[in-house]
Amino acid sequence: MLDLIPLTLGQVGFTALGVFMGIIIGVMPGLGPLLGMVLLIPFAMYMEPVAGLSLLIGVFVGGTFGGAVTAILLRIPGTPIAAATLLDGYPMAQQGRERDALGFAVAASAVGGFVGGLYLVLGAPILASFALKFAPPEYFALAFAGIVCIAIVSRGSTIKGLIVGCLGLLIATIGIDPFAFFYRFNMETQWLIGGIGIVPLVLGLFAVSEMLYQISAGNLDKGAGARSVMLPPSIVIDTVKRWINILRSGSIGTFIGALPGAGSVIAAFVSYAAAKSSSKEPESFGQGNPDGVIATEAANNACCGGTLIPSLALALPGDPCTAVLLAAILLLGFIPGPQLFTDSPEVITGIFSSYMAANVFLLIFGLLLVPIFVWFVNIRKVFLIPVIFVLCVVGSFGVTNSLQDLWFIPIFAILALLLMKFDYPLAPLTIAPVLGPILEENFRRSLIMSADDVSIFFTRPICTTILVISAVALIMSLLPGNALKRFSQKGTN
């Protein structure tokens, strides 16, 4: 089993910086941890690997919590992740208990995140050691299951999710063929021979399209008007006293987070439902019950730890944030997956340690610096949007060092706006390019192993089981009344 190793001072500092920046990005409506991670990848690339990953993990953890501040104070979830938090958080603020609501949210996020971290530290190495026995057919089945799960639980219909997933898989095939060393789908231009990098793709899909959407939505020259508050440190004790709720919500969040594609939104709503059904006063939920805030916040931050389990152990990203994290690991020169646990254990233990440290910093910053974060909530969009446009261009250039690749950003921004307009989900398009090469390489390796006999996928027990489960899940999602779909729709709406 891997041990948690102490981080260096620099790594601790970058974790703290990441959490601080993540909360700031998370509190700004429309922005979220994904955008923060993508914008900071260029910085992470130029750092020592564990420090760079610590920065990104910090943003992931901080950004996941950040949305709760505006959800509670303004009834605007800064990120979709915080959609469930406003159900009880905002009524508490309306009753003049915004200090309590924010305090419960901060403490529950940190403690819930810690619960998710424990599962991560204990579960990921076991899963990785199991996965080391996998051969190409099993990896193919896992990547296939990842794509199917993401398509199933994404916003919109499953068919649309699968169409976008296929689009992402085809985008991933642009560039050099991994076996025949032949340039595919590059339209005979030099521009496309290296393929399409995930950073300009994600920046276009999520950052530029979101900024254009915000411009169309208006209210550019007005601040949000949130009132600043100071949080009482004693709220931590009050939160920990509700440990059953935290433990249950943290466990639900971790479990759902570990399912590819399920994500924090579903985790938060499922935990909320579980807290309500086990409460002695279920009728008080929705009217300002602190247990509602604790359940949702503990779950969505624990979900970060859960999402990291398959991402690190199997190189199977559960959501766009972990897809970006895996892309960063690749850009730093490491191959994500179970082999990373044996080849570069210092990277894995560094990620574990920084994840735990990030939750400690979340608690500290959340309790002490809320007035600063509220100040950022009130920044006018007219100042924010142009900076994000510039950071997208400079950040993408910093990672790819290519001026031509910058044109991918507006192309994918327009594609994102069209996909959103026609109610197609964006998440599969982010994850498919990460899973695509894994899927193709292992698909073809499997066929090479079996001398082009496709029965290899149906004669190996683990591979067959994964494929059958994926197929059953896919068929069930196409039937009316899909529970996971309902939860995810509720969150995104």
Binding site: P42, F43, Y46, S157, I159, K160, L162, I163, C166, L167, L169, L170, T173, D177, F179, A180, F182, R184, F185, E188, V208, M211, L212, Y213, I215, S216, L220, D221, K381, V382, F383, I385, P386, V387, F389, V390, L391, V393, V394, F397, G398, L403, L406, W407, I409, P410, A413, L418, K421, F422, L439, E440, F443, R444, R445, L447, I448, A451, D452
Partner: protein
């Protein structure tokens, strides 16, 4: 344009992708001899499978669009669209010019101009604020990337 027509038009646009995949496999791949054979040498095997799957899914979605959209909604005309999204459209074109200018005029010249014009488009009118903001943000981004990260930001092909 109606919602149903728009959905179908978008499906046709997406269908162009598998069509392009089949076309490229049938021409370039075939010319290079990598469109058939074993998994090791067949560069077309996997993309062809995904393209077939995507084409089938698009056909299903087209059918669903015909059968599921019962109340067809009329979309606003182009004038109404431009009126509602005019600022976003202008900002998008400024962004395109920024990417173009980033190469030809470099970071130092194109960034403050882009920031200045974008803020104007977004409705900010304070002249001092515009200049200070454009210059300040450019300096801060330059410091972060060029000085801290040692990233060589483009100086501009126009200036040699």
């Amino acid at each position: 344009m109606t919602n149903r027509f728009g959905q179908l038009a978008f499906i046709i646009i997406l269908a162009a992708i598998p069509v392009f995949v089949f076309y490229d496999i049938g021409t370039r791949f075939a010319a290079e001899g990598v469109d058939t054979g074993s998994a090791e040498n067949n560069a077309a095997m996997y993309p062809r499978l995904v393209a077939v799957l995507m084409a089938v899914l698009l056909a299903i979605q087209a059918f669903r669009t015909f059968t599921h959209i019962s109340e067809d909604e009329l979309w606003p005309g182009i004038n109404e669209f431009v009126r509602v999204h005019g600022r976003a459209i202008t900002a998008f074109f400024l962004f395109l010019f920024y990417i173009w200018g980033f190469r030809w005029f470099g970071f130092v010249y194109s960034t403050p101009i882009f920031l200045f014009l974008t803020q104007l488009v977004l409705g900010y009118r304070n002249p001092v604020g515009l200049v200070v903001y454009s210059g300040g943000v450019t300096a801060a981004v330059y410091y972060a990337f060029a000085k801290i990260l040692n990233l060589a930001l483009p100086a501009g092909d126009f200036f040699g």
